[in-house]
């Protein structure tokens, strides 16, 4: 069992993958996932996953950008080197608004991309699943569920039988 990474099972179409996912969720498995070459509408709920945490990173990035935008305009134009230009104020919340606005968006976007990588635990160039020929077919039209051996409920025989019961075909073991 130590060299077993997971058991994978294929499903013929999107509705059967969706309903199988609901059954895996209800059976109480935790370390498992569905694999499809496109996002399936409503799948996070079928898998029992909570709302994504990515917006938290977006928010942090946005706040940082807004603060930096405000600070640099104040520091550079009003504190470090004030220059009189056309009688305009050295600092005001109005004129530097484009700077604050653009930096908010810029850093929020970096936060979002970084957040996507962090929440998905990427980059992770190696994964035992990539060794499976069946798994590689997910890029085409194969729809998979993989239950990992590190799941507390995992048992090589009963998990395999469970996947067959919920309609899985081409069931195979992926070694770690």
């Amino acid at each position: 069992m130590s060299n077993l990474h997971s058991i994978i099972a294929s499903f013929p179409d999107t509705p059967s993958l969706y309903h199988a996912a609901e059954k895996v969720r209800d059976a109480g498995y935790k370390k498992w996932d569905t694999y499809s070459s496109f996002p399936v509408h409503g799948m996070p709920a079928a898998q029992g996953q909570p709302r994504s945490k990515v917006p938290v990173f977006t928010f942090l990035g946005g706040i940082t950008g807004f603060t930096i935008g405000t600070l640099i305009v104040w520091y550079m134009g009003a504190y470090d080197y004030p220059l009189i230009v056309g009688g305009k104020p050295f600092f005001s919340p109005i004129f530097p608004f484009p700077i604050m606005y653009e930096l908010t968006i810029l850093l929020a976007a970096f936060g979002t991309l970084g957040g996507m990588f962090l929440t998905n635990l990427l980059p992770q160039h190696h994964n035992p699943l990539f060794e499976s020929d069946t798994f590689l077919e997910v890029a085409g039209d194969r729809l998979l569920i993989a239950i990992e051996s590190r799941d507390p409920k995992f048992d090589p025989a009963s998990t395999r039988q469970f996947l067959a019961e919920i309609g899985g075909t081409d069931i195979e073991e992926v070694s770690a």
Partner: protein, 501 residues
């Protein structure tokens, strides 16, 4: 439909039977009942097949054209900005015209990828990747002009708030500095959005290369050709593999990816509106008649989307024909793009007329002169080009016959961009050439350096776009599959459809 009939009382039901309303079928987004594998093979096949001869021909032409920009810039840097046609009182000429022209073109890409995503427009999926690529390459072309307009381009980094030996900082009270932030943010965020959208497809390209390497069955007349094909797949395995970051198509990946995509769409929407707004501030914040108007931000944004969709059609119609993508870019897609051109083109036409009205209604003699001079003064020919291309051309899109004639749509899409270039020329040059003091009036003509530099940017744009279609998947495969009936987790038989959630 079932729920509606249950709630109806018998009288209403009888009426409905008598009226017998037409059942309007929604046009499918992927035609001919294609399956998932067909979509993957079609889109990846474009990149995986051998380089077609036409690609090399186009690349050679594009590189030769791009060389004109190189020559123009070399000329400028070695001599100075004086080699451009700028002279008092016209100190903004083709450089700013070309800058606004290219930046505007970029806007359609972001509109398709962000605004239409928020509006849940499924038809955007097959055109959004190429449109986003167009955005990035248009921003690259746009950036060249202000960058070299600063004269001593090696000091261009002074535009950014980086400490320098003089101890001075950028001037944040100037709209030109706002522009630096807007355009550089726009370029960066567009690249991030484009790249993130491509990660699943890069993973697909990687997996397909690995599959072929494992199978090891390479066809080819000679040993050399087989080795070459295999070598290319090794390259693909690492090249796409590195950029795919280990994407596994997992449900958990998609969950976070979709959230990130939605958030980036939400960020890009105010961004794209702000960029052309700030570009218009370059003009509107000045006190010159013809520039100092509050209509500029919405008018610029509408014009940008108008020209951008023109460019999307200019690019996508030939690609569709060359690669046989008729099942993915359907008549419905072309109809929708034509209608957006019609809508934004009408806004632009309205803005032209409203400017005239306000010039008269505002009772400011300088303002009225500026506008009468625009249409009937020394640049009347540019005004006619602008008005006819931008106001009359899109009105033809009202007719279905026109929208179904692809050759005509393509020609019109080019006319739209010709018109939009002239719009920026009219705005920039007419206001400067005839300002308050008749003694200082002038006439602007571009020099050969201006012409070379601008002409070459079309080559630069084409080089970048050709590289894109050769090395990156042209359409987001996952998103196209998502809008296909087979991608629906609640059954996909057309008769059962109508369930809404």
């Amino acid at each position: 439909m079932a729920t509606i009939s249950q709630e109806m009382d018998p009288a209403q039901a009888a009426l409905l039977d008598r009226v017998d309303p037409a059942v309007l079928e929604e046009q499918p987004l992927v035609t001919n009942n294609r399956d998932f594998n067909w979509v993957t093979n079609k889109i990846c096949g474009i990149v995986e097949a051998g380089t077609p001869t036409w690609w090399w021909v186009c690349m050679a032409v594009a590189l030769a054209t791009a060389a004109f920009t190189g020559m123009g810039l070399l000329w400028l840097v070695s001599s100075g900005v004086g080699v451009w046609g700028l002279a008092n009182p016209i100190n903004w000429g083709w450089a700013i015209v070309n800058f606004v022209f290219w930046i505007g073109i970029g806007h359609a890409g972001t509109l398709i990828s962000a605004v239409l995503c928020l509006l849940k427009q499924g038809w955007r999926t097959s055109i959004n990747r190429a449109a986003e690529a167009m955005t990035i390459f248009a921003v690259v072309c746009a950036g060249i002009f202000p960058l070299f307009h600063v004269g001593r381009v090696w000091f261009a980094w002074w535009l950014f708030p980086i400490p320098n030996a003089n101890g001075i900082w950028p001037q944040f009270r100037s709209p030109l500095e706002w522009d630096v932030f807007a355009v550089s943010t726009y370029g960066t965020v567009s690249v991030l959005f484009w790249y993130m959208g491509m990660i699943p497809d890069l993973g697909t390209m990687r997996d397909r290369a690995v599959q072929r390497l494992k199978a090891g069955a390479y066809e080819g007349a000679t040993e050399y050709k087989r080795k070459f094909a295999e070598g290319f797949d090794v390259f693909r395995k690492y090249f796409y593999g590195i950029f795919a970051m280990g994407w596994r198509n997992a449900g958990n990946h998609w969950r976070n990816y979709e959230m990130a995509y939605l958030v980036l769409a939400g960020l890009s929407t105010p961004l794209v509106l702000s960029v052309h707004t700030i570009v218009s501030f370059d003009f509107a914040v000045s006190v010159l008649p013809g520039w100092h108007t509050t209509i500029f931000p919405p008018y610029f944004v509408a014009g940008a989307i108008f020209s951008g969709f023109g460019m999307v059609m200019t690019l996508m119609l030939p690609l569709r024909a060359i690669f046989g993508l008729h099942d993915l870019i359907t008549q419905r897609h072309i109809d929708n793009m034509a209608k957006i051109c019609l809508g934004t083109g009408s806004i632009v036409g309205y803005a032209y007329i409203m400017e005239f009205f306000i010039a008269w209604y505002g009772a400011n003699p300088y303002e009225s002169f500026a506008f009468i001079n625009r249409a009937f003064g020394q640049y009347w020919w540019a005004y006619i080009m602008m008005f006819s291309c931008n106001v009359f051309t899109p009105q033809l899109f009202w007719f279905k016959k026109v929208r179904e004639n692809w050759a005509l749509v393509w020609v019109m899409s080019i006319l739209i961009n010709v018109g939009m270039w002239f719009e920026r020329f009219v705005i920039t040059v007419t206001s400067l050439a005839n300002d308050f003091l008749p003694s200082s009036w002038g006439y602007y003509s571009p020099t050969i350096v201006d012409i070379f530099t601008f002409f070459g940017t079309f080559g630069l744009f084409s080089v970048l776009f050709l590289l894109f279609i050769r090395f990156a998947p042209l359409m987001p495969i996952g998103e196209v599959k998502y809008v296909m009936p087979q991608g629906d987790p609640h059954g996909h038989h057309a008769a059962e459809k109508g369930g809404h959630h």
